[in-house]
């Protein structure tokens, strides 16, 4: 079913921008990070696709590949099918176009990703930390995050520091 979606997308965006993987439990489409916003607009409003519902957006950190992968779960009420999009950005300076203008709810997920993984979404209306305090240092879901021993004069470990 997703392969049908893939063929429609390839007709519009060309073969070199999209890669299709069906060896996993959920087949997914690997997307070029520059095209993510155009692709989302197309997937939402194209009458054959109509992916009107935004499920979730999450990020995965791959230090060995030196990249952060964004995973988009979309659902089409018309086709009753889910579609998974993946796109990767560099770990050093992760920047990606926001899709808040396509699905309003995605703005919250993007703020969470900025908070925990440090991905900077351009054209976002309010790019601030969502869960952690504003003065937090670092992005804790990165694999190389090291917890400081104090936060605001509170010890962060059970072992007494002398």
């Amino acid at each position: 079913m997703i392969s049908k979606v893939y063929t429609i997308l390839v007709d519009r965006f060309g073969e070199d921008a999209l890669l299709y993987f069906d060896d996993t439990l959920n087949p997914y489409i690997q997307v070029n990070p520059e095209q993510i916003q155009m692709l989302c607009i197309f997937m939402r409003y194209n009458p054959a696709l109509k992916f009107s519902f935004f499920f979730s957006l999450c990020g995965v950190d791959y230090p060995e590949k030196n990249q952060i992968t964004m995973v988009y779960h979309l659902f089409s009420m018309k086709q009753k099918k889910m579609c998974v999009l993946k796109t990767s950005v560099s770990r050093k300076n992760p920047e990606l176009e926001s899709i808040e203008s396509v699905w309003k709810a995605a703005g919250w997920f993007e703020r969470e990703l900025y908070d925990l993984l440090g991905v900077n979404f351009t054209n976002h209306s309010n790019m601030k930390r969502l869960l952690l305090p504003d003065d937090w240092v670092g992005h804790p879901l990165r694999k190389d995050y090291e917890e400081p021993s104090f936060y605001h004069d509170m010890e962060t470990s059970r072992n007494r520091i002398s």
Partner: protein, 174 residues
């Protein structure tokens, strides 16, 4: 009330002032109404009909100015810990703290997390620790009875309500 009671007549008895004051204090432990996580559900249950803490005069107050006891019910994040310290300082002396559940005792299940305080005793002094995840209402009741025991041992008139487990003694004892 046990201990220093001498019944002299049918209508009067002789006791110490401390005992009478402590008896009144322990019979009206008002706790602060707040919960930080799922232990708060069990705290509500403790107020329910089976383990009715109203019957020992323990009712919730919505403002720290009127509360004697702070029940820290649930996981304490660093963001919340600052608010808890603020609430603690707003409570009037003498004040008591009951740490409820594994998370408030030592961080519990979440002690390897980046955002969770490893025990509320890192920021405020704790009188009674109630273990459990979450503790049953009976366990919380037992904890409040322990607070009552602590209250009965105190010399209220001599110390003018000052307590040894005060935040000042925690900071300046070295």
């Amino acid at each position: 009330m046990k201990g220093n009671i001498i019944i002299t007549d049918n209508n009067c008895f002789v006791s110490t002032m401390d005992d009478v004051i402590n008896w009144m204090r322990k019979s009206s432990i008002w706790y602060l109404l707040f919960g930080t996580a799922c232990c708060a559900i069990e705290l509500m249950q403790t107020g329910g009909p089976r383990t009715d803490i109203d019957r020992i005069g323990s009712v919730f107050r919505s403002t720290p100015r009127q509360a004697d006891l702070m029940i820290v019910a649930g996981t304490v994040t660093y963001k919340m810990a600052e608010r808890i310290v603020l609430l603690y300082h707003q409570m009037a002396e003498p004040k008591y703290v009951l740490s409820m559940g594994s998370c408030a005792n030592c961080g519990g299940l979440f002690q390897n997390s980046y955002s969770v305080l490893k025990g509320v005793d890192k920021v405020i002094p704790v009188d009674v620790y109630v273990p459990g995840c979450p503790p049953r209402p009976e366990a919380l009741m037992e904890g409040i009875l322990k607070i009552q025991k602590i209250m009965m041992k105190e010399k209220f008139l001599k110390n003018h309500g000052e307590r040894k487990n005060d935040i000042k003694s925690l900071y300046y004892s070295g």
